[in-house]
Structures are given as structure tokens and as C-alpha cells.
Amino acid sequence: MQKSLHIDPNKCTGCLQCEMACSYENYGMFNLSKSRIKVFAFEHEGRKVPYTCTQCADAWCMTACPVDAIRIDAATGAKVVHEDVCVGCKVCTIACPFGTVNYVADSGKVQKCDLCGGDPACASACPTGAITYVDADWTGLDKMRQWAGKTDTQPRASA
């Protein structure tokens, strides 16, 4: 079963455990500036929103890459940057409509979310369930359940 990251901003408290976990998983250190997932604060609305690559089926970054450095991981469906091939031309960062591929000056390559090979560290670290890793075909399940709960078509014993 294909899975995908599912983000529910209503549950996000802004603790940044996801960003820390991402940097630890990929770079072996705690470093927000190395994270591939970012939490955005909309202060005046009181909202925090985690955001990262959605792994487009027809990925602009992959199509744009002139050296085929971005390839699909068959197991997870993630679009993965192969650092040994990447030449750091940044065309993918221009092609991506969502800004989730970014250049890393230290390495001279680009980085993006690769779903940690199928066990995303951000989802494991999230203490509130704002980030989960769920059946890719059913990312709407939670919302459906909420709306389903609002229907009132049957008499209830306690009514």
C-alpha cells in the first residue's frame, strides 16, 4: 500500500519537533536550517502550519532536472534527490510550484523530503498527530469521518 504524509494544521502547536527530527534523520544533528519540513506561524490568526513536499505524481522537479538526479523510489513513491548525480543547477527549485525543493549551499546540492525511505521521522516525532503517514488513497478519511459524525439520519437510543 502506498502511503503519504498527511498534515492537519489544526493539531499543530508549533513545537518544531518535526523539523528537529528531520535534521537528525538526514544530517545526524539538531538543526532547524537543515529541515525539509517547515512549520509556518500565522501569528495574527493563531495558526501554525507544517508544510513539505507532497510528492506530486507528475513531479515538476523531476521533469525539470537536466541530469535525472531526481528519481522515484519504487517502494514509497517519493521523489528522491540522488546527491551523487545532482549538479546543483537549481532548476528544480524554480520548477517546483510549492517551494519544497531547496538548495543547500554547504553541499552544493538540492534537498527535498524523501519520506525517510518509508518511515518519516517527522510523523514519528509529532506529539499531537498533526503529521501522520497514512494510506495515500485515503488522506481524506479524517475529514470524511468528521462530516459523517455530523449526519443525523438514524434515531439514537439516547435521544
Binding site: T13, G14, C15, L16, Q17, M20, A21, S23, Y24, Y27, G28, M29, F30, N31, L32, S33, K34, E43, H44, E45, G46, R47, K48, A125, P127, T128
Partner: protein
Amino acid sequence: MGWARKILRVDLSKGSCKSEPLNMEWAQQYLGQRGLATKYFVEEVDPKVDPLSAANKMIMATGPLTGTMASTGGRYSIITKGPLTGAIACSNSGGYFGAELKMAGWDMIIFEGKSPKPVYLSIENDKAELKDAAHLWGKTTWDTEEIIKKTHQDPQVRVSSIGRAGENGVLYACVVNDLHRAAGRSGVGTVMGSKNLKAVAVRGTLGVSGIKDFKGFMAATVAAKKVLADHPVTGQGLPKYGTQVLMNVINEMGALPTRNAREVQFEGARDISGEAMHEKRPTDGKANLITNNACFGCTIACGRISQVDKGHFSVVNSPKYWGASGGLEYENAWSLGAANGVNDLDALTVANFICNEDGMDPITFGATVGAVMELFTMGVLTKEQLGVESPFGSAQALIDFAHMTAEGRGFGKELGLGSKRLTEKYGHPELSMTVKGQEFPAYDPRGIQGIGLGYATSNRGACHLRGYTVASEVFGIPVKTDPHATEGKADLLKAFQDATGAFDSSGTCVFTTFAWTLADLQTQVDTACEGGWSMEKLAELGERIWNMERLFNNAAGFTAKDDDLPKRLKTEAAASGPTKGLVSGVEKMMPEYYKARGWDAKGVPTKETLARLGL
């Protein structure tokens, strides 16, 4: 290891920034943050120093767990000599600033001297420089943060700053970071303002990478997070209601100091409680509380984000207060509300916004308003002097006073001195609800005896965060004790104070201690700091810090006489509720406390105690 092993020394008089290696011998004895910075401070500063002179220093310090994946691992503290009290001041803040400072590669910043003109410190990893702050002077903390982010063209920079209160000499000014997190008490922001230092802006991209036993550390943090998630207070109560979970509980037990501590129960407590923050307002159909909020790394998320009714009298002409911002915590809901008899939840929320915006301690501010309202009620202060009718319960007076104090206008100048100086000036020093010049917070010592002893002995003046015996006396954490009993409270308080010293030195938040014991901290510190950190060592560290702070205060001129509560709490019995008829037994507990501490009858640590602690 968890330390960056580097400190930044900023000489504001000369305008220089220099890097120094962290004293690792001291780090082994004092861990970090509160303990280690206080060690540096007492080694370098004369206890008799005028707090607002160039000779005073101010240290911003992280702990070894700051900037790591330890839950709540984002704390930093500001250590200086406080202008409100004349005692050692140590105020702790969350938000994101502390972690950013650590990720820029610094354990602490020592500020010394005084800049000839307003400046701010800009740090980008190992690059640190003082920049002109003429354009920031006179701005609020909110505007300062926004302007710096725009100037640097970097929305990811983290800012810690003073508002107008810190510039105007309000003696209880805060240092505010990330819009609504504050190193709140004892006037650390006043010291910053006296040095012409407006702000510190940090961007850190180096990270924390030196922990040798990363796997062991990660396992320890995961286990400790589970302890927090599984505990009813840190897993459910605090996320849902924040510290405001306390309002109704403390009121019902008759321990909510009301109208300048004339009473112990507030008839409007329900209206300003955590529960009320969840309820829809009749005026606009919306709830005060928008969401809960976490500081860096925190898996509890007790913070409140609130929004008031745009039609409320306090904001109807001020759109800048219409958005969501930092909401009421229990201490602030008490100090702005019960302490002066105001039950208007939105008014308290806006007063709290103003305290954040211009950087002043809502506890001392609110309690000072309470004293002023009592003086008004007695006819000592008049509307002509104050600028507004100020009976207990006036939300209008509260809001006017907040603006006036922050901006240094009219009677606000006097409110900015705190209740001790203000009540003395008007001939009624007995109306100041302070210890060592600092207002006590939201627990009445007549109804909760142990915390009264805590107020009387706190090294930074009256405070609940130095030894929160309320956990035991109200919640039974770690064991239930009778809040009305004085027996055994000396030992209980000492244990709380010592453990708190360790938490305050680690980079984690003291609110974890509803669920964590020293054992939970020990596994994380030990793995982050390359071993050798036993529970005994951490408890002893806390005791060492406590005595070090005490020695500083004694040398600054404090004596046993200053370890006392306001007369009202000792002579005017509580008039209602389960506390009815009780007064504080602080005088009975004090000799037991000195004995438990290994101090002589004058409150001076004995030679044996100092030798045992290596002081």
C-alpha cells in the same frame, strides 16, 4: 556534548564582541543556564553594584538541552542583579530564541558596560556585531521584531527585545522574545534598557551536533516525552486549559489572593478561568481562546493564543489588538484580574497583550494596580492624581494604567516603580504585597502554607517558580501534603527548590516537573553531557545554586529580616472558604527551613554547608 562550549562577551561601552571558550570545569559543577550563568555572574560582579549602572552585567544563557529534541528544550535565562529587588535576578523564557542562540553556536552571552547610544546585537552564527538601534528606540517589542526581520530580509531571525517599559525605567520590565514569551520577572528588561541595548537578533544554522551518545540521548528523550504524554496534568490539563486550569481550583480552596489580598476568594474567578476562555462570548459568539501553543521542542503546549471581541471597549479603536496573540496564563489572569477585582476576561487579555507588547511583568504590574486601587478606595489617592476613577473592579482603570505605565505617562511613572516604592511614598507600606520588593503571585500563603515559605525565601523576591510546593499541597505531586499544615514544609520546599535549580540549569521547562522527577531529567542530561550526571549530583547542583544565590544576596545587604511575608498575610485571617480563620505560619516554618538548609539562625550558610557544596 550538549554545550556549544563557547560564550560571547559583549562590551557595550567599547562596542566589542569577543568569543571565549566556556569554562568546562564550571559547567561540570553548574551545568548551564541558571546555574552556570549565575556562577559567571557572582565571579564577575560586585554584589553591592547599582543594578542600573554600567558596572552591572546581564547574561543570556542556554542550557545543555536547549536546542535539542528533549521536550521543552528551548529555554534560556537572563541573569543579572535586579532593579526591583536589589537581589540576584534570574528570569526564564521559552519561545524559539534560546534554541536559535544555541544553534548559532553559543552557550551564553555576557553583556557588560553601557552603550553610549541605543544599539542591538546581531548574531549570525559565529559573526556577532552591535548595530545602531536609533530607529528601534521607542518601538514596542512587536514592532522591533518586525522591523529587524524586514531590515535583515530574513523572516527566520529570532528576536529578543525590550519594549517601551524597559526604556522608560519601569522597574519590572521584561525581555520579550517571539512576540509573547518573556523573561518576565525582577526587571531584567530594565537592566537591558539601562545599557541602551534594545534587542538581540539571532540566526543560527550550525545546529547542535556534538552529542557523542546521540542514540542514547534520543532514547532518553523519547521515554521522557512518553512520561509527559501519559500524565494527566502535562498530557491533558495543561494542553487544554494551560496553567489557567488552576483558577477555579485555587479559588475554591480559598487561596486566591483577591483585591490586594484583602480576601482569599474572588466571586468573579469563574469569569476569568481557563474554562471561561473556552466558552463563546455573548457579545460576538466567539471564544477568547483560539488555540493552545507550544514553545520550541515542547510536547506539553500549555501556551494560550487568544483573540478578543473587536467591539470591546479596550480595543474598539485599536485594530492592532484585534488579531490573535499570547493569552492569559494563570498568574496573569490572577494579577490582572483577581488581585484588583476585575472579572472582564477580554480586558485582562488586552492588558496582557500590552504587557507583552511593551515588555512588562504582568504579575508585578497587576499586583501594583491592586495596591493603587486599595489606596483609591481608602481615599489616599484620588481620580485627579490617577487620571481615572480606580475602584476595585474597574476594567477601564486597568487598561488605562497598562497604557500609561508602558508609555511612561502620568501616574504610569509611579506605577512603574512597583507597589513597594509606591505604597511607601503614599504612607502605606503595609499595602505592598511583596517580599524583597517583588510582588508575590497567585497563591495565598494563608491557604497554602508551603508556598508562603517559598515566597519568603525565594532568592529573586517573591516567586512561585523557585520551589512550587503547590504541586504537592494542591495536586499531590509527588506526594500529597496538607496545604494548611506548616509541619514538614521546610523540607518539602528545600527539595522543590533544589530540584528546580537543576531543571532551570538544563534548558528544559519547570512545568515538566508535574510529571518528571529528577530521574527523568537525569537520563537526558547524562546522555547529552557525556556521563557522570547522577540524580544525587543534580540535586546537589540545585542546592549549590541556591546557596550561591543566597551568598550573593547576603553580600548585597539582605538579612534574615528580609525573609518575611507582608504583615497582612500574618495578621489578617482569611475570611471565607476552607481557609477561613487562617493566617500564614511563615515565622514558625522559618527556623526549620534554615536548619534544613544548613544555615545559622541569621540565615547565613554555615561553613560546613559551604564546604559540603564546594562553595
